[in-house]
Symmetry: C2
DNA sequence: ATAGGCAAAAATCTCGAGAAAAAATATTGA
DNA sequence: TCAATATTTTTTCTCGAGATTTTTGCCTAT
């Protein structure tokens, strides 16, 4: 019987790209998430192949990889486009994230060992430190906070044994990140997330799954409320 | 504000392939699901391009599309392989399916209108008819039953507005189907699923979400139990 | 002025050959 | 005999050019 830990990951998340196509894929992904290529933009292979310094076929492959992440949509014989955004889509993403992430957290709390507890505490500490430096509004510290926030949420569900939930959750996180980058730089000061994170950690360590998932659920949903209050024409 | 119904689908699920790459993708997917290419098999582009009558680059693209469905895994500079299978993986798939499908059913029951009810009844009727013809064990009728079973489960969650849940559910269904094809042709007579389907329909039409999701959950989980009782060396 | 259709242009899709990498085989030395 | 290295073979990855399809622009007729 195969051990789950020995089966290959669903998505190759290697440290450094071993192929030109993958390198182009990462650059393109970053550029899409950061808004260099706007939602709905046409992605012409002939243009982009020069910009990213690869052949046409290679860039095509990179685009295909982005379709996997649903950051790019491919239409029959009409090329590629950056996936469009909408408030409804973000609401959908957020709700689905809640569904997956609460389930994963529940399993983590149920199965997590001492090492898991330690990693949660450590990630929370790093995140708290990043929050201290966040006040000056520098872009670099903001970047740091994003990374540690992501790491915190990842570690939290790290003891969940389901590769599939983590896989889907990963896709949705990329999607959410794109929405955040496209909108939240307008309201640069996040709400009081520290207390929420603290409460999640406390409940998780106390093995209080119901409480932890409740807070996490509200925590994620609040990002939806924040975007809902943006000017209506901005999201379109 | 964009309407969700107007946004493009996450995965192009068009009726007929508009491109050679997509045609090759579909043939390959069918062959993998049906076990022509066994789990773990190496998929050499040079061989397959002749077999599927397309160029190397085109076949490469088809393989990339299969990575999206997690039916194929791509390793750095070492080509493509058919995704391996394991009992643990199947258990993971099944549990995640339960999570997504029950959530979708709950929303369907909450939001479904008369047209949805009608489609559920219709799909159930078609499935029941297929069950009648199933006794002779002919391959064609078995095929028909598979199709209608899938249609039934799809219609059941058809009123769920979440494109993301349906997207993920779709991926997992393909995965499950592969496991079924690889194993269940050995125990060709399915257990008494008719009563379970009937119970789900009744609860759904009565808008009893708790009952419907409970039965659906057990229904899906039973397929896992069935595979668990196979000879241990078969799944490996 | 607008609608329809025809022609030109642009973009996508496809293919086969060459370069780079990995795997397999053979060789050499202890 | 075994291990380590070198060579050969296989396979993957990459590129640019040609064929097909879509889009754009223009022209004509009502």
């Amino acid at each position: 019987m195969n051990d789950l830990a020995n089966t290959p990951e669903l998505v190759t998340v290697g440290d450094e790209p071993k192929t030109l196509a993958e390198a182009a894929y990462r650059q393109l992904r970053r550029d899409i998430i950061e808004g260099v290529h706007r939602p709905g933009d046409k992605l012409r292979v002939e243009h982009l192949k020069d910009q990213y310094e690869v052949g046409a076929g290679t860039l095509r492959e990179a685009l295909q990889l982005l379709v996997t992440d649903a950051l790019v949509v491919a239409q029959g014989q009409r090329g590629f486009r950056v996936a469009p955004i909408s408030l409804d889509d973000f609401a959908d993403i957020t709700r689905t994230r809640v569904l997956l992430e609460t389930s994963a957290l529940q399993q983590s709390i149920e199965l997590g060992d001492d090492a898991w507890e330690a990693s949660v505490v450590a990630a929370f500490h790093l995140l708290s430190r990043a929050e201290d430096k966040l006040s000056d509004g520098a872009k670099a510290s903001r970047e740091e906070w994003e990374l540690r926030n992501r790491a915190f949420h990842e570690v939290l569900i790290g003891a969940c044994p389901s590769r599939w939930i983590r896989h889907f959750q990963n896709i949705l996180y990329h999607q959410s990140e794109r929405y955040r980058r496209l909108s939240l730089f307008r309201q640069p000061i996040p709400r009081d997330v520290h207390a929420e994170h603290q409460a999640i950690v406390d409940a998780a360590l106390a093995r209080n799954a119901a409480e932890a998932t409740r807070i996490l659920s509200e925590h994620i949903m609040r990002t939806l409320e924040a975007v809902r209050q943006l000017p209506a024409d901005f999201i379109n």
